[in-house]
Symmetry: C2
Subunit: 402 residues, 2 copies
């Protein structure tokens, strides 16, 4: 089977070009165009400081329809006032000219440094050039995927196929995110960027609902630094060109499962490529009093620099994990809780469990560390993904100058 990518769903073309915005010579302007009017939904950051493209994007996706996405990396167009909005609209105008649609059918996105006006001469030339290079090959998908990256070391993609009756539906996604990652996105409003494409035929209302649920268990469950960005955006465009209608309960279930799988794969890739990351820390909180409680606890553990450093150093210092679980507003009773590190129980019922520290330390030398906290007081569960905290993180964020 050929490799699936964001242009595998029928009806999509993309391009990525280097317009001179980023200091390193890799694509920094991207276009993703749907040949037909796509049903669309998007989730945006809930940060009260939101970028101009987020403001414009919220308006453009409101009617549940889009023809495409225009984006740039290297500059977030955030904290740029009224000129920032004018620039975001100009990006949509140029992309609209390429797609042959109204500017309001285009979703704009930007990612990069906050507080600088976009270099519009470069952006304009970039969008026009990208319009000339649109295509639907794997290479085109990869150039778009590269255009959205900033401090990311790896391109992040995921895709699945599933059947609705006899028809094959493809759902694919690409995303970026390495630092300033602690999304709390809300539909209709998510510096991670994620773009999803599908050729399913689905109503905007249903698409919006399913995206909201998928975002909660994926992008909103990943954290690198707990810093919800000014620009976080997750958007999905459904061309409908597979002919498969997502209207039966069975089809909805299959679509939701595909959407969850793609979003979770992308979110996981963000944690794995977190700034300075050497490993993923996968936290499962089980038997919590409520799902909200489980999420709060999982996120508190994921955000503790003490936990992240211990995991970096392969140190089974579980007291840091249990104490992080206790510091939120969530119900937590240590006497009822149990904690396993890579499958080894280290704490149960308020008391330490004797374990082989050297063996557990050895078991932490892996690409993914599994922390499972059983709260023992309910039935709710949640997962959260993060990465360890290394010296490289400091190098990336302190030595890099604006």
């Amino acid at each position: 089977m050929a490799q699936l990518h964001i242009l595998s769903p029928r009806g999509f073309r993309s391009a990525g070009v280097y317009a001179g915005i980023k200091s390193k010579q890799t694509p920094d302007v991207g276009l993703l165009i749907c040949d037909v009017v796509a049903a669309a939904a998007a989730a945006f950051t809930t940060n009260k400081v939101f970028a101009a493209p987020v403001k414009i994007g919220r308006e453009h996706v409101k009617n549940g329809k889009l023809r495409g996405v225009v984006m740039n990396s290297g500059n977030a167009n955030a904290c740029t006032g009224r000129q920032g909005e004018i620039d975001a609209i100009r990006m949509c105008q140029l992309a609209g000219t390429v797609a042959g649609c109204s500017p309001s059918d285009i979703l704009p996105s930007s990612t990069g440094i906050i507080g600088h006006l976009l270099p519009m001469d470069k952006i304009e030339r970039g969008i026009i050039e990208a319009g000339q290079y649109l295509g639907s090959s794997l290479e085109h998908a990869q150039l778009f995927g590269d255009a959205i990256l900033t401090t990311d070391l790896k391109r992040k993609t995921a895709a699945v196929e599933f059947k609705v009756g006899k028809q094959t539906v493809t759902l694919a996604g690409v995303c970026k995110g390495s630092g300033m990652i602690g999304p709390r996105m809300a539909v209709p409003h998510a510096t991670m960027l994620a773009y999803l494409t599908t050729d399913a035929s689905i109503s905007p209302v249903l698409l919006r609902k399913l995206l909201g649920a998928a975002v909660e268990n994926s992008f909103n469950s990943v954290t690198v630094d707990d810093h919800a960005s000014t620009n976080d955006t997750a958007a999905i465009l459904a061309s409908g060109l597979s002919g498969a209608k997502i209207d039966s309960p069975k089809a909805v279930k299959a679509f939701a499962a595909a959407l969850n799988e793609v979003c979770q794969s992308l979110a996981y890739q963000i944690a794995a490529d977190g700034e300075g990351a050497t490993k993923v820390i996968a936290i499962s909180v089980e038997k919590a009093k409520s799902e909200a409680d489980a999420r709060l606890i999982a996120r508190a553990i994921a955000n503790s620099p003490l936990v992240k450093c211990a995991m970096h150093g392969n140190d089974p210092n579980w007291g840091r994990i249990v104490s992080a679980a206790g510091l939120t507003a969530a119900a937590f009773v240590p006497e009822k809780a149990a904690l396993t590190l890579q499958g080894t129980m280290v704490f149960a019922k308020g008391q330490p469990v004797v374990f082989d520290a050297a063996a557990v330390s050895k078991s932490l030398e892996v690409a993914e560390v599994k922390i499972v906290l059983n709260c023992g007081i309910g039935k709710a569960a949640a997962k959260c993904w993060t990465c360890d905290l290394s010296r490289e993180y400091i190098t990336i964020n302190a030595d890099y100058h604006t």
Copy 2:
């Protein structure tokens, strides 16, 4: 004037001895005894995972009276179940024998690794030995001050004298804290430890009220890693031996001012000695909608690893600060806000302000960086102190093994 310390207030003696709990040979068991029954108040951690000495300490301070404090470093006696409680009580019994009082007149504290039973043979010998070395000299104060330290590089003390009528009152404190610092303490319930002594004559009820207020603007306003510990404790003992009664509005005001000054100085010293710290970051949020909002915003800025790394690297990347301000539940309107970095305005009314980046970067090469965010939407203010995030932080927390 002679140097003031925690034994300057009349009626206090202390000792610190090395009992072999810590790996490095510095005092690890401390005793602080008041010659008379002291009015007392204490604030303890609000973490749902609280150590055995916190549980016992809450009970012992409930009646507003104490004769002393017994403590050890190197082991937190947290997550140690029923045996942990028995051990904390035993510490009080031994200290009570020294002081000639009931065990319930002693406040126990522990700090160090979580999840290990106390080495009671060492602790018992240590307390008995400390009892033989009690004294009220500067050296005795320093040995107690050393006994409470763990990863701290410096001893932290503060003291003031003030007049009530013709009488001179002394109020002094000592504290520890370098990592696992993000206290949220509540009276009557605060791994920072702080012990305050005074010879003022004050009722336990008033002492408790004033301690609560002072803790909020000092220890609860400092964060290194936002990780509220299992053992945080701030306690004050008032011997009354100055004869100065804190019962007039003027005396209360003077006492409260002294208490705030000592607590804030101690909290500041914790930020300055935060794990891996090379500088203090002092954050002032002004003109916020409410004090709670101001606190939320100040703490969000202080806890952002992106902000802490930028300050470490002397990078005036103010977008990280403004975006951190927007991600809390607090009211924040970027169009009304203004931000200054070391006195230079970098952002105002939703837009960047042109500034000399090289000069501002140079201005960040100081022992204390001042960040002032004017929200422009209210009258409330709050301050928060933190430190920068360095490679040394990772070394301390990842390379150190339990």
